[in-house]
């Protein structure tokens, strides 16, 4: 369960000046659903997810994960959270198995449990053949699978994935989306970000459209279609973007 209330993030950087990356955003991700943050480059997706995963603190507003405040109880938040972004890289000279052991131990799992989880996840993600190869020698898709397996080693019930299918081929992307759907069946709360409409359409139960840091619309695909009287998510997106003067077509 994720609850974000009136969350704002302002960056004061000397080079770029003041940037409102996330502007008064509120939404929640319930148990047993996949929520998608859809937005173009620079919309504030990664920033939002980083705040949820305790890597950044909101300038204003509150975020609760599993009922714990991300600022006040970051450790408890992390305990129940699996987080993945594309800018988080793995140690190249270690193998996926070694990484799973390392992060499993850091999450205070016993070696037996780690072994069992490694077995399960690698079976699930079809990682068996490269489990003992160094990350540096793996392909993009293999690395992504390894990163996903690590974020799931402690069996979190909240999963936050930033652009999880970015740069993957159709088969690997399919494996990942199937995994997300399966986790939904297991009653987990799943939040993903994407700039790809089709991903949002196919995978997400509810979609939040993020533009220039503002959440413009939230709802199921059907709700959005009804609200905007359009069938195509892309049309809805461009309508909102034009309203916001974000994109000139």
């Amino acid at each position: 369960m994720i609850e974000a209330k009136n969350v704002t993030k302002i960056f004061d950087s000397r080079k770029k000046g003041r940037i409102v990356a996330v502007n008064d955003v509120s939404f929640e991700v319930r148990e047993g659903e996949i929520f998608g943050l859809l937005g173009p480059n620079g919309a504030g997706k990664t920033t939002s997810l980083r705040m949820i995963s305790t890597l950044m603190k909101p300038t204003k507003g509150t975020i609760r994960v599993n009922g714990f405040d991300v600022v006040k109880e970051p450790k408890k938040v992390r305990k129940g959270l699996g987080f993945l972004t594309s800018d988080m890289k793995l140690y190249e000279s270690l193998t996926p198995r070694e990484l799973l052991i390392f992060f499993g131990r850091l999450n205070h799992l016993s070696d037996d449990v780690i072994e069992q989880r490694t077995e399960e996840i690698s079976e699930y993600l079809d990682m068996k053949e490269f489990l003992d190869k160094k990350v540096g020698k793996l392909s993009t898709g293999m690395r992504q699978k390894a990163a996903i397996s690590i974020s799931l080693i402690h069996d979190p019930n909240v999963i936050v994935f930033d652009e999880p299918t970015n740069g993957l081929d159709v088969i690997t992307a399919h494996t990942v989306t199937e995994l997300l759907k399966d986790f939904k069946e297991r009653n987990k709360s799943i939040l993903i970000s994407t700039h790809v409409m089709s991903v949002a359409e196919k995978v997400c139960d509810r979609i939040g459209i993020l533009l220039k840091g503002k959440l413009k619309a939230v709802g199921t695909l059907d709700e959005l279609r009804e609200q905007f009287e359009m069938t195509d998510l892309e049309d809805i997106f461009f309508t909102l973007a034009r309203e916001d003067d974000e994109i000139h077509v």
Partner: protein, 400 residues
């Protein structure tokens, strides 16, 4: 709480070592390189020193003589020497400058006559001070003059029926009451702290930035931070890891130095193995106790700066002044041959110089010793806390 933090830092350390053991180049630089490099370096310096000494000792001394007829007895000695040859140079002074002859000797016109009349004639020896062979020839010639003087003196004393012993006014005897250990110790007191401090720093620097700044640069730190692990445990684990690696590096360097100093040809450079081989066990233990807090302080500063910096290059830039400071400390430890008041022992870096010197000269004062350890440990803790805070600061982790 404390227990789980300790456990976490051990897990972090385990990961760092695992990565280290996969890194052949760093392993090589840590172990094989110091073992091979120092013996080769010292050995070759010694070898070249010997070669140049040989090259600069003339096998034949070429001498031009003015008025040889005035000093027949002296010339007789000279002619009896197998390695002295005479030149009929017309311009001896010019030839000396052109390195054609080694020496040019000018006897007093009435040399032998004055000798016979118990006078003191002059003998003028020209040499070329800018030419090592000529200088060495001069040394040999001085010996010849000395033995000639001794001969004449014997004759003069015999004429007056005076025994040679009559000239012995007193017999001075000088006794060095220091042990070879202590003499070795004072050499070590100069050199060892210098090498330890410099090597510790350079080793800690490369390993330290490798596990802090480059984790940021490569983007591997993020995954660590979204896990439950305590930030202080990350910092602590990394610091212990860097310290262990730097210590291993220093130990290997010293083994290399020991091997190098055992080689006789290196004795002329460093005063021989006395410099290292004769340090006692107590001194070693004391040294180690001082070194640990010093190292932890250096490493904690490196980790703090490494965590703050965005790129390795930026970090190296920040650490340059520290590097210079460390070199100054090292050099100062070789020169500072005086004792200081107690509060000096509470100045970081400086205190270590004097503490190490005290150890080698066997003059450790307990309170000063404790003061050194305390100061450096407190600074370490401060930097650990600072770094742990930085790990929680998004402005430092996501600096753009």
């Amino acid at each position: 709480m404390m227990k789980s933090m300790f456990k976490d830092s051990m897990i972090i350390m385990w990961k760092e070592f695992k990565i280290l053991f996969r890194d052949r180049r760093t392993l090589f630089m840590m172990t094989v390189f110091p073992l091979a490099f120092l013996p080769i370096l010292f050995g070759s310096i010694g070898y070249f020193a010997r070669i140049s000494e040989k090259a600069n000792t003339p096998s034949a001394i070429i001498v031009a003589v003015k008025n040889p007829g005035a000093a027949p007895s002296f010339m007789k000695i000279l002619r009896s020497m197998p390695n002295v040859f005479f030149s009929n140079s017309v311009e001896p002074v010019k030839d000396l400058r052109d390195k054609k002859i080694h020496l040019y000797v000018e006897f007093d016109k009435d040399f032998e006559g004055k000798i016979m009349e118990d006078g003191a004639p002059s003998i003028k020896v020209f040499y070329n001070g800018a030419w090592e062979q000529s200088q060495n020839a001069l040394k040999i010639f001085e010996h010849i003059i000395d033995s000639y003087k001794a001969q004449i003196l014997d004759i003069r004393l015999a004429k007056r029926a005076i025994s040679r012993d009559y000239l012995k006014v007193l017999i001075p005897i000088f006794v060095d009451r220091s042990t070879p250990q202590e003499r070795g110790g004072s050499v070590a007191a100069m050199l060892v702290p210098y090498f330890i401090v410099i090597y510790l720093f350079s080793a800690a620097l490369s390993v330290g930035l490798g596990t802090t700044t480059s984790e940021k640069e490569k983007g591997t730190i993020g995954i660590l931070l979204v896990n439950q692990v305590d930030r202080s445990a990350i910092v602590f684990g990394k610091i212990v890891y860097i310290m262990v690696v730097a210590l291993i590096y220093v130990i290997f360097t010293f083994i290399g130095m020991y091997i190098a100093l055992k080689n006789p040809s290196s004795s002329m450079i460093m005063g021989g193995k006395a410099a290292l081989g004769k340090i006692g066990f107590l001194a070693l233990a004391q040294l180690f106790i001082i070194l640990l807090p010093l190292e932890s302080m250096i490493v904690s500063i490196i980790v703090a700066i490494g965590t703050f910096s965005k790129t390795v290059r930026e970090a190296t830039g920040y650490l340059t002044p520290l590097n210079i400071l460390v070199v100054i400390v090292g050099i100062a430890s070789m020169m500072a041959n005086f004792n200081v008041s107690w509060w000096t022992y509470s100045i970081p870096f400086v205190n270590t110089i004097f503490a190490m010197k005290d150890v080698f000269l066997n003059q450790v004062k307990f309170t000063n010793f404790i003061l050194v350890i305390l100061t450096n440990s407190i600074i370490t803790v401060l930097f650990v806390l600072l770094t742990a805070r930085m790990f929680n600061n998004e402005k430092i982790l996501f600096r753009v």
